[in-house]
Structure formats: C-alpha cells, structure tokens
Symmetry: C2
Subunit: 344 residues, 2 copies
C-alpha cells in the first residue's frame, strides 16, 4: 500500500510554497497563471487527492449524512431514500446502512456512523431501542426519524431529534371506516407488532376507533401480527382462512401494501375472489398497487415528499435554526381502486 500523496508533496515537486498549492487547490485568486498551471499539472501527474478530513479540520466540516433503513428492498423505504437524494444539498454525501431489523446490525451501523463522522442521521422504519435512543441523544448528532418506531412515550423528545410521518391513526381510521360504510362488519386486520410505539400502535388504534364508531365489536381473533412483507401477508391470510373457515371476514385491512398483495395471492389460491368475496385495503401506496389485479385500494403516503421534508428538517437541525415544530405530519391520500366492494 503506497503512501498517499499530500499537498506538501505536490508543492515540493512543483517547487512552490505549500500556501500557493493550497490556493490553487481552492481556486483562490492571487496566483500567477503560470504557477497555477504548474501546480495543477503536478497534481494531476502525481494523482493528488485532497484529504477531506484535513480540510474539514480547519473550516468546512465534512459533509456526510447517513441513513439507517430496516429494509432497503421495500419500495416504500427506497422511495423515501430517493426523496432524500432528490433534495440533498449537493455538497453532501449519503451513507447507507441496511439493518434487516437486526439489532446487532443496527448497533454496528451506528458505530460506523460515529466513526465516519456523519453530520446527521436519517432513521427509516427501524425500531429504536432505548439504548440506541440514549446514545443518539447524547451524541447530539441530528437525527430525523421517518416512519420509525421510537419510544418517546416516557421521555421528552430529544433536542437533536425530528420526526416525519403521516397521521397513522387517522389514516387507519379512514380506511376502516370506509369498509364499515361499505357494509362490512367483519374486518380482519393485518398489522405489525402492536406494541410498537408508533406506527403499528397508531394504525391499530385507528382501526379500533373506526370499529367503535361503527358499533362493531373488536374481535382479536381476526387481528394478525406479522412483519408486513409479501410473504407475511400471504401467510397471515392463509392462517386467517384456516382459522375462520366457517365465519370468514368479508374484508381485510392490511397495514402495508405488500401484506395486502400477499393476501391477494392467498385468497386467490383458496378460490376466494377479491372484491366479490372479500374486500381489501392496503397501506403505503407503492406503485405496484396500481398494476395488481384487482388494483388495490390503499392509503398512499407521500414517500418522495417524506424524504424531501426530512432533508429540510435535517438542514435546520444542522444549522441550529429555531425549529418550532420538530414533528412534521404530512398529508396522506386515500386512493380508491378495485379491491373493495360494497355489501349494501
């Protein structure tokens, strides 16, 4: 491994002062054209790359942001990342860490992020344990959580945190209420861990409130918890069909589109038609819901916008602006397609 070439090496080689070399490197005035040319060509010849870390030491801080995501292969999350990229000031780089919801990987990622001197962290869809939360709070590194599960309940919202999401409770309420309005009285729920502090819990509550308002008794027999992947939606639905053979729900509210799509397949394999036999509503609004058969009625989250707004919040956190509201709630939309049928 050969030693890296420094500005001093270049200056020596070009027979100029290191100050001059630095001025050339930074495109500053007050350098004669000849010397500038000489230095430039020497840099090229020696294949000189400035050391960003050393540069950062004096003035400009290293611009690097990190994102920790629970599952990069979910298009819901990758769309948010795309939104982040779209809005990222161009001097920033973005480091990616995929945890697959593995706590050990999460911790390794965080170690790495500290080590690499990230200026801020986007936290997507990952469950944040107390230890991590405390560590991050103490690090004072700006953290923007997007659609993540954070145990804020017992403590106050840390000063270096911001949060972007939609109103999950309200969205779940709307979807469930729509099913009720359509005459459904037995509505199954496919949901992530209900004990999650935010997302799962909020959606569950919205579902519950809608049932209540429509005078339908909550039936825990038709509430199924899983990781909301395609496979999970498929398996949960199989289980539902097996367990409720004689009294099938007439509708399913799935807390993710992928789960809904998995459910669609499971129903098909059991000769159940959607929406004739069973109606389905999904959640997220990923692109493929438009192309499934039947196309899926769903709650659409503004994924790109969520990413873009996260960056805006991040920049404010970094520049220490007064942030009046550090919890940003964006609008969702309810997209009605083919997967719901009225029973009236």
């Amino acid at each position: 491994m050969k030693k890296r070439v420094t500005l001093a090496d270049v200056a020596r080689e070009a027979h100029v002062g290191i100050g001059t070399a630095s001025r050339v490197l930074n495109d500053m005035p007050d350098v004669s054209p000849e010397k500038r040319k000489l230095v430039l060509s020497t840099m090229k010849k020696m294949n000189f790359k400035p050391n960003r870390i050393a540069q950062g030491l004096m003035s400009k801080p290293m611009k690097m942001l990190a994102v920790v995501v629970s599952d990069i292969t979910s298009t819901f999350f990758s769309s948010i990342i795309k939104g982040i990229e779209n809005n990222l000031p161009k001097e920033y780089g973005l480091m990616l860490f995929n945890t697959s919801l593995d706590t050990k990987r999460l911790h390794t990622a965080l170690e790495m992020i500290y080590e690499k001197h990230a200026d801020g962290l986007f936290f997507l869809g990952e469950h944040m344990d107390e230890i991590t939360l405390n560590k991050l709070e103490q690090s004072h590194m700006p953290v923007v959580a997007v659609s993540s599960k954070i145990p804020f309940t017992n403590k106050k919202f840390p000063a270096n945190f911001a949060y972007v999401s939609i109103n999950n409770e309200q969205a779940a309420y709307l979807a469930t209420d729509y099913l009720c309005e359509s005459g459904h009285r037995r509505i199954a729920l496919l949901i992530s861990d209900i004990k999650d502090e935010n997302v799962g819990f909020d959606r569950y509550n919205g579902y519950r409130r809608a049932l209540l308002d429509n005078k339908i008794k909550l039936d825990s027999e038709i509430i199924f918890e899983g990781d909301l992947s395609l496979l999970s939606g498929y398996e949960l639905t199989q289980k539902m069909i097996n367990q409720t053979r004689n009294n099938l729900p007439t509708a399913i509210f799935a807390a993710s589109d992928n789960a809904a799509l998995g459910a669609l397949r499971a129903l098909h394999e059991n000769n159940l038609s959607v929406p004739e036999d069973i109606s389905i509503i999904g959640f997220d609004g990923i692109e493929s819901t438009k192309f499934s058969t039947p196309s899926l009625t769903t709650i659409s989250q503004p994924r790109l916008e969520m990413g873009e707004e996260s960056v805006a919040l991040m920049m404010k956190l970094i520049s220490n602006d007064q942030l009046l509201e550090r919890k940003m709630t964006l609008d969702f939309s309810f997209i009605k397609r083919e997967s719901v049928q009225s029973k009236k």
Copy 2:
C-alpha cells in the same frame, strides 16, 4: 458563537497532561482511577464533545465505498445492494447515489465520489458513457459493475474494472426457446434499448437466436423498447395490443419482471387472460413474481449473490490481488410458474 471546548481545555482545567485526557477519552488503560475520574467529571462539567474530524485525521484512512444505481426503487437493484451490505467488511461505509438514469446526476455523483475519497465504486444498472468510462479508468479507483451497460466493445477492459452478471444471452435464449417448445410461434419482446452494449443487446440476441433455431422469422413489429418499469411494461403492452389487434402474439417475453407485471395488468384490462390467451415470461426473479396472479414464470438472477460477489471482487481489486478473471458470470435459474401455457 462561543468557542468549542477542546481536549486541551479539559486537560488544563483538570491539571493533567493532554495525553492523559486523550487516554481517558479513548478508554485506554494506564490511567490511574483517580485521574480518570477527575478527567471524566471535568469533561462533563465543561460539556466537552470530542471533535470527530480531528480524531479521524490521525487514525486509519477513511474506508468508504460508493454505489451508483440507476433506480433504487427497483427491488432488483435494492436486493443487490442488500447483498453488498451483507458481505461488506465492517470497517467500510457505503455511500449511495441514485441517478434515475440522468447523466447529469451521474456526473455529479461521480464528482462527489472523487471528493469524498471513496476507495471503490459499485456501478449498478447504469449506462456508462464513454466520458465517464475514461474518467473512471484514469482515476484508478476500483470499479465493479453489476448488470450495467458498459461500452467495452472498442477498448480493452480497464485494469481497475471488474464485472458481475449472468449470461444474459443464454438466459434469454432459454426463455424464448421454452416458449417455442410450448408451441408459440408469435412471441413479442419487451426490451430495454437494444443498442445498449450489454444487457439489452445480449437479451435481444438470445431471443433472436432462439427464434432462429426454431425456424421462426424475426418480426420487428412485435419488438418493443422501453425502460422496463411497471409503467413501461403496461404501456408497451397497450401499444402492442393496439398495433396487432388482428394478429396478436400468443406470448410475451419481457426482459424484466416489472415490465411483465405491467403487461399482466394491461392484458387484464383488455380482457385477455394469462396464460390462456397469452403466455408471459419475465426476467430477474423479484419476489413479487411469486405472489402475482397468475404467478410469473421468470429467469431468476441471483441478486444477493451478485452483491456479495461484487464485494469479493472489490476487495481483490483494492488489495491489488492478481485477478485472473475480472468478469464474473453467475448462474441464473429458470423458474416455471403459472404464466405460460402450452399450445400443443
């Protein structure tokens, strides 16, 4: 703006040497418990935060790899990235750049990558123009291209490059030949730009060779070029239906699963059943092909493995090992599901 408190400040305040303070900061041995306690409490009292940048200056060089990807929201690519993450030595960070196939963004990303001193670059699914190729070749930065379009044809394979893919020609041949064997004689092709140096061209050639071997005349009227997204597959198929109303193909070979899934929807909307009226084969093997109705017959690329092998190649490139073969071809598999029907 008050001045930030440094380690030297802490050392002075605690009446110890700066070296001792540093040792305490880094949890190193050889510090008496009393001094350690003293320094620790002084740090706390003064609200000292170590400057990570200065820390980074001394310590080992920044290990950082970069990935440039044409579309992060494609699960084909995000799965490869997941594979890369899986196999990445833990001291490395991974920077992500999404280009959306926009050349300007590609160039910005590359600038950034140079600036941030990446130790290597993964190039996923992006078309590499000549300028970029030359730049990268001159930079001597290790580059591993995965399923990318690189104009190698006229020049020799650069020494700092490696390439991972499957045998696209062979895979396309197999899929097309299978349709022929099933009695189909009129097979439409949904494909990316055929003039692409690698992927599109190779798959097109495989398709062509299979037709030839089965004594079927190539018909350019039923070859449709697009970007292979869900929407593109949908639109191309609509176009196909409109243009061939009286002489519809009996089968479609789509060069991506997403295009195949889009086609599925377009056919459904035109009251064409799959596979009864038209058979379909996709390409990539993404998870959702298992859950569509009908489930999709497809060529499956080993996405995680492609990511993992890319890292292995990258590490060899970085450590300058002798690389006997810098083009790695992995095995694909042909997955037969419900979307093809025999006409015999």
